[in-house]
């Protein structure tokens, strides 16, 4: 029972932490570009303001359009709840393994792209088209990286994988290095960051995510934005706990949990710094260069799996 309460609390904390993560990256980026920029708490104010505002719905909007923000948000929340963030003693991790996690993200994306096509404007359709293109290239690479990890731990359960990684001695497995690199590239593409998509602007420069949610307003927009921030945090947590797994609590003892919280927050903030630096020093790719980027991710994941099978199994 304590496990379930703990899982609920952990999910709630991650959900509440997500806007800070997005704001933190944005603030750092502004600083790196010599701008003052809004503080890291700004996304909370934005979300609060949006949730109080009136919803403006286009005449052509269908029920799919109105349901999509709730579907996208709740699916992302459930996806967050199955990822061991602070401790691996998570009963919810047994509900769904990595493959189901990928399935959740795909479900959220499915509804997001449908919502983009719903109003019947050209921009929304363009966003949806690009989103499904990018994701259909990213998904094999993502699953391949996850497969390598789970073959390493001979389990697809995230808790088991992470505790296997923490418990095993520190050896540089080539398979883990390659698949981590592939996974990070996929994470950048899937969360819509530079060089695939630019999260900071509306229109013209941002071609994918913002194009799909252009018609949303009020609380619907708040949910969509929040879900995007959650997705960023989710991928960051996955990178933090799969690539650098040390610090994750193995038990539910208070000391371990405190250490776990501290570790994961530090790792996330550090990842935010890395992301901000990476986004500052490079420019966005043209859309048709994106397949090369994702092809690289796929090759890296493939190399990871190959090196696992050739070097580590036999």
């Amino acid at each position: 029972m304590t496990g379930w309460i703990f899982a609920m609390m952990q999910t709630l904390c991650v959900v509440l932490f997500a806007p800070f993560m997005a704001g933190w990256v944005k603030w750092l980026k502004c600083r790196l570009q010599n701008r003052r920029g809004p503080g890291p708490w700004q996304p909370y104010r934005d979300l609060l303001k949006l949730s109080r505002k009136e919803v403006l719905l286009a005449v052509t909007a269908s029920p799919v359009f109105r349901a999509a923000p709730y579907v996208v948000f709740s699916v992302t929340v459930v996806a967050v709840s199955v990822v061991p963030t602070v401790s691996v003693q998570l009963p919810t991790a047994a509900l769904a393994d990595v493959i189901v996690l990928v399935g959740f993200l795909a479900l959220a994306r499915f509804f997001l792209s449908l919502a983009g096509m719903d109003i019947g404007t050209a921009f929304g359709g363009m966003g949806s088209s690009r989103e499904v293109t990018i994701s259909s290239l990213a998904e094999p690479a993502l699953l391949m990286a996850f497969f390598t990890l789970s073959m390493n731990a001979s389990s697809t359960n995230l808790s088991t994988v992470i505790s296997h990684l923490v418990r095993s001695d520190f050896i540089l497995y080539p398979s883990l290095i390659f698949s981590s690199m592939g996974f990070i590239l996929v994470a950048i593409a899937e969360t819509g960051r530079i060089p695939i998509d630019n999260p900071d602007t509306h229109l013209e420069l941002t071609m994918i995510h913002e194009a799909m949610i252009l018609e949303y307003s009020g609380r619907h927009l708040a949910l969509m934005e929040w879900a995007a921030m959650l997705k960023l945090t989710l991928y960051s947590v996955l990178i933090a706990n799969l690539v650098i797994p040390w610090g994750v609590a193995l038990t539910l003892a208070p000391g371990d949990i405190l250490l776990g919280i501290l570790a994961v927050v530090c790792k996330l903030l550090a990842l935010g710094v890395l992301l901000a630096v990476a986004e500052t020093v490079q420019a966005k790719l043209r859309l048709f260069r994106a397949p090369q980027f994702l092809g690289l991710a796929f090759i890296l994941s493939l190399l990871g799996m190959m090196s696992h099978i050739i070097l580590e199994v036999g």
């Binding site: 009136e54 919803v55 403006l56 719905l57 286009a58 005449v59 052509t60 269908s62 029920p63 799919v64 359009f65 579907v71 948000f73 709740s74 699916v75 459930v78 709840s81 047994a94 509900l95 769904a96 493959i99 189901v100 399935g103 795909a106 479900l107 994306r109 499915f110 792209s113 983009g116 096509m117 719903d118 109003i119 019947g120 404007t121 050209a122 929304g124 359709g125 363009m126 949806s128 088209s129 690009r130 499904v132 259909s136 290239l137 998904e139 699953l143 391949m144 497969f147 789970s150 697809t156 359960n157 088991t160 708040a222 949910l223 859309l287 048709f288 799996m305 190959m306 099978i309 050739i310």
Partner: protein, 346 residues
């Protein structure tokens, strides 16, 4: 079968169950999608997808069922397509138990290809649903389409409910299918459903598990929490219906929407290495608008089958020279053939 040959009977049973489950699912959601497509064709009297749009307002029941079918066929949780894909992945991930390195590598790579297919299927069904049911109607017949009669609706709703049921109660389905591998190989997948009826655990609880019903419950719970959080009872539900924002350029019309061809254009361009694609836009002549033509071909067909076919045709033309039409010539052919055969035998 590979697993069976190498003596890994349990994994063979798992793979067989995954395949059978997948067939069953295909029967359900493909049937559902065909019924939906039939209803749309009959009611809109339109065969061209590019002329549909906005049917969700005219045919809400068909649209809802079609959505269920789309989600199922794209292998997304919590519907049935996902369960069988998940089982297939679980079987493929056991590839390392095989001692042959090539086979062990091929299985996970094949499943990565399965993931690519799944993602492309999702892209395709977003396109179909978005173009046919969402947006604005693109032709007057579609704008006046009526909902299909009760019988057609009922059949679709039944199949949609089955899709959901097979998705959230996988343990019962697996237990039912389990009879087949038990009879064939003497080994069943008893562990899968034994842990509890809520959990699907094909190999072991530590290895992998999927609680489909709990997942659905979690989804609904978080949906409710969010809904009540955003809709406090004291406040009225403020939604204002307005016209679509058009950037101040004047009214939007249905021709400005993304069409299905436009939607799949990036995918066509990325995979243009694999297929022969010729896209042409001819400028309009004599007051007619420009013409757009798209030809898709398979490289394998063009490079392998077509040359072979040409060679065979040429050979046939050469041999047709001996066809004189004269009966005596034919009789002498068969006589010489007989002589030749006798010579061969002796």
């Amino acid at each position: 079968m590979i697993f069976h040959a190498t003596g890994h009977l349990e994994i063979a049973a798992l793979a067989l169950i995954a395949a059978l489950y997948h067939c069953l699912n295909h029967a359900l959601f493909k049937g559902l999608l065909f019924l939906g497509a039939g209803a749309v064709l009959q009611q809109s009297r339109q065969h061209d997808m590019e002329k549909m749009g906005g049917l969700i307002r005219r045919m809400p029941v068909t649209a809802a069922c079609f959505l269920v079918g789309c989600i199922s066929i794209s292998a997304l949780p919590p519907f049935n397509g996902f369960v069988s894909e998940w089982l297939t992945f679980q079987a493929a991930l056991q590839g390392t138990v095989l001692h042959s390195g090539i086979l062990g590598a091929m299985l996970p790579i094949a499943s990565a290809m399965l993931a690519l297919t799944g993602a492309l299927a999702a892209a395709c069904f977003v396109k179909v649903y978005g173009v046919v049911f969402l947006g604005r109607p693109r032709s007057p017949q579609v704008a006046e389409a009526q909902e299909s009669p009760f019988g057609m609706q009922f059949a679709q709703v039944m199949l949609a409910v089955c899709c959901l049921g097979f998705g959230i109660f996988p343990t019962w389905v697996v237990r039912a299918i389990n009879v087949i591998p038990e009879n064939l190989m003497g080994v069943g997948l008893t562990k899968a459903a034994n842990t509890s009826w809520l959990w699907l655990t094909p190999i072991g609880k530590q290895t992998a598990s999927y609680g489909a019903l709990s997942v659905l419950f979690g989804l609904l719970l978080s949906w409710l929490i969010v809904y009540f959080f955003l809709h406090p009872l004291r406040r009225d539900n403020r939604i204002r219906i307005a016209t679509v924002w058009d950037c101040g350029f004047g009214p939007l019309n249905s021709r400005m929407q993304y069409t299905s061809l436009a939607f799949s254009m990036p995918i066509r361009r990325i995979f243009s290495i694999l297929w022969f694609i010729s896209e042409k836009v001819e400028p309009g002549r004599q007051g007619k608008g420009p013409r757009y033509s798209l030809q898709l071909g398979d490289w394998l067909w063009l490079m392998v089958y077509v040359p072979i076919g040409k060679i065979i045709l040429k050979l046939a033309e050469r041999t047709s020279r001996i066809q004189g039409g004269n009966l005596r010539v034919y009789l002498s052919y068969s006589f010489f053939t007989l002589l030749f055969l006798l010579w061969v035998i002796v």
